[in-house]
């Protein structure tokens, strides 16, 4: 299908920990690709950097130093552009044994540049929905007005009445019950599920090329969760919109994803076609992916614990990232041959079979 829609290369997003006077390496070299019309799902434990990756793409991070390096190539009909274009002019990195130890950033210049690039993109070419839809909608504005605003901002429909018709169309499209009534409701009168439908309607109403959904079902009742997932699946096949879906819930992922990226400690440790990553029989797997799948909770567990898989041990501290493989402390597949490598050197992301990448010393050469 030609060049992919979005290509993230070696994205790094750091924050500053005041108390520890050190960097929080929230996203530390993320590489992934989203093909046109396909859903890439990002999975990983809490704190692995999934949300920060999404917010970095949208240029929505306020805490410093924020995005410090990388390239995000976004290809639309209008051509190809780097969403982090000219970033290097505003950031200077100080490295020490291949590690970034110092960042100086012209925050104001950087902000201006981000706003310049993203003004064309946010809401129009890339739309985003979040978890906790009730707080994500503006409580002071009617649901209808919030959708109409997006339509008038990003589509040729400018006339209020036409925009309203268009909003109603989208409310119907997301199967909102009694859309005409809901149009005039304020968010507080709506359930979480209805709010998420409204958010989805708002996001899709500008017909973006990419939808980023950060845990869109977290915080909703289990039954509502599965209807929202069903809705997303339907919209995906009807509209063919590319999606970056962040989720804890392997069941959600397996229903929607074409590709899966597994994140651990701020990096992608494995990514490739969903059947290969999630399938039980496929042999080549990163030990972390295998552990994640093995700890996949039963359906009952999911409802009780919110779908968080439990793997023994602790996720690496993003402030004090281990030198070698980030999973080393918890890995049960280290052999004597590779132990030294695992402990000292971070493995690279290697393509094992076409489109399937793994970051582990067990594989390759």
């Amino acid at each position: 299908m030609g060049a992919p829609l979005l290509e993230i290369e070696n994205l790094r997003t750091y924050f500053h920990s005041r108390s520890k006077r050190a960097f929080i390496r929230a996203v530390d070299g993320v590489t992934m690709v989203i093909a046109r019309g396909e859903t890439l799902s990002v999975v990983g434990e809490s704190g692995s950097g999934k949300s920060v990756t999404a917010l970095s793409i949208m240029g929505l991070l306020d805490a410093g130093p924020g995005v410090i390096s990388g390239k995000i190539t976004f290809r639309t009909d209008g051509g190809e552009r780097n969403l982090l274009h000219d970033l290097e002019h505003y950031v200077t990195l100080g490295e020490q044994d291949g590690r970034i130890m110092e960042v100086s950033k012209d925050e104001a210049g950087w902000r201006k540049q981000v706003e310049r690039i993203m003004a064309e993109v946010r809401g129009k070419e890339i739309a985003m929905i979040f978890q906790n839809p009730k707080s994500a909608l503006n409580p002071f504005v009617t649901v209808g007005h919030q959708i109409t605003e997006a339509i008038r901002l990003h589509t040729p429909t400018k006339h209020p009445r036409e925009a309203k018709e268009r909003s109603l169309y989208w409310l119907e499209r997301v199967k909102m019950d009694s859309p005409r009534l809901r149009f005039d409701n304020y968010p507080y009168g709506l359930s979480g599920g209805m709010c998420q439908r409204a958010m989805i309607a708002m996001a899709l109403s500008s017909e973006p090329a990419l939808l980023i959904a950060d845990e869109p079902t977290t915080g909703l009742d289990a039954t509502i969760q599965s209807t929202i997932v069903g809705l997303l699946a339907e919209l995906k096949s009807e509209l063919g919109i590319a999606t970056l879906l962040i989720s804890h819930d392997i069941r959600v992922v397996s229903r929607l994803a074409d590709d899966v990226a597994v994140m651990y400690g701020g990096t992608v440790v494995e990514y490739g076609p969903a059947p290969e990553i999630l399938g039980a029989r496929f042999g080549l797997k990163h030990p972390y992916t295998a552990a994640l799948l093995a700890s996949r909770p039963s359906a009952q567990n999911v409802e009780e614990k919110g779908g968080l898989p439990a793997i023994e041990g602790e996720v690496p501290d993003p402030i004090d990232v281990p030198r070698g493989c980030r999973f080393y402390a918890r890995c049960n597949r280290v052999t004597e041959d590779i132990r030294d490598a695992c402990a000292r050197h971070e493995p690279a992301l290697k393509e094992l079979t076409p489109g399937h990448h793994v970051r582990c010393w067990l594989y390759g050469d």
Partner: protein, 328 residues
């Protein structure tokens, strides 16, 4: 059924009105008692050195129809007030209402003008620093605002009078600066600026607005607005600016009125503050009571404005109010 159909704003108004009535009665009672307990009475001030005979004085009181016990006095004052009669000034013998009305406009002009000055200074500083964080510029501006705010308003007033009037000879100081007179309006800017800048209001408005705006900027729905490419200001306006602004203004009205008393003294401004000052010295109790009533009404009006804005703006509050009315 009936209540559910009532507009939430109407309910708020009704509730506020009832509260205001109670409050006014309370304030008038307290002020009256204080006046009664404080030494001196209008007759000794008025008749100073004229009639020294105690019996003659009592006779005069009787002749003027002043009842003896304080609560009878109070009740008759209250009764008159309910009929719209504020009584007559002991000093001038003119109706109190007319006396106050004559000067109320210039006080309104002074206080509203000073509020505008305060907001024009405070809002930009607050908004800038809530969005940009602490930059050198807004640190400097904030510090300046805090320092100036900390200056007592009488001191600032005297310095302004000295510098502008005695040094530069502008703003000729006369007792007859009337806000309504067209030729003299520039003279009125000085006291307005002094009251707007001093009095501690600027720093508190800055602080409150900045806190609220920063909090709102961190809300999920603002992130959504940014993600959809909409104007953050438009989405943050109601909760981040409109509501906190009415809150802080409403809570500052008593301080602004208090400041006005001082500023009117310093600048010889013919307003209610100066009249209150004069009346206090004369023990002119109908005037004092009248001004106290007006001041209390203004304070109540401020909080009414705040409630109305809050309910009008916040869909949830308007419905809760409706729900509460149901329960009552």
């Amino acid at each position: 059924m009936k209540l559910a159909a009532t507009k939430p704003i109407t309910l708020v108004l009704a509730r506020e009105l009832a509260l205001a009535a109670l409050l006014l009665v309370g304030v008038s009672f307290v002020v009256f008692v204080i006046l009664y307990l404080s030494p001196g009475d209008p007759f000794s001030v008025l008749l100073e050195g004229q009639i020294s005979n105690h019996a003659a004085r009592a006779g005069l009181r009787e002749a003027l129809g002043v009842p003896r016990t304080w609560y009878v006095q109070y009740l008759s004052w209250l009764g008159n007030l309910l009929q719209g009669n504020f009584g007559t000034s002991i000093r001038t013998g003119l109706p109190v209402f007319g006396e106050i009305a004559r000067v109320a406009l210039s006080t309104l002009y002074l206080t509203l003008g000073s509020m505008l000055v305060t907001l024009l200074i405070a809002v930009p500083i607050a908004l800038h620093s809530s969005v940009r964080g602490t930059t050198a510029l807004n640190w400097l501006l904030t510090m300046l605002a805090y320092v100036v705010s900390a200056l007592p308003v009488f001191w600032l007033g005297y310095v302004a009078v000295y510098v502008f009037i005695h040094q530069f000879g502008v703003f000729p100081l006369t007792a007859r600066i009337a806000a309504s007179s067209e030729r003299t309006w520039p003279f009125s800017l000085l006291p307005i600026f002094v009251l707007g800048i001093g009095n501690g209001t600027v720093s508190e408005v800055v602080r409150h607005l900045r806190e609220e705006m920063s909090r709102v900027m961190g809300e999920d729905y603002i992130r959504t607005a940014r993600a959809k490419g909409a104007s953050v200001w438009r989405h943050a306006f109601k909760e981040g600016l409109l509501i906190p602004m009415t809150e802080i203004i409403a809570s500052k009205i008593p301080f602004i009125l208090g400041g006005a008393v001082i500023v009117e003294q310093v600048f010889n401004w013919p307003g209610m503050g100066r009249m209150a000052w004069q009346a206090a010295q004369d023990r002119d109790f109908p005037v004092i009571m009248g001004i106290a009533m007006i001041a209390a009404t203004l304070v109540r009006l401020g909080s009414l404005l705040q409630r109305v804005v809050y309910v009008a703006v916040n869909p949830r509050a308007s419905n809760e109010r409706r729900g509460a009315a149901w329960a009552e």
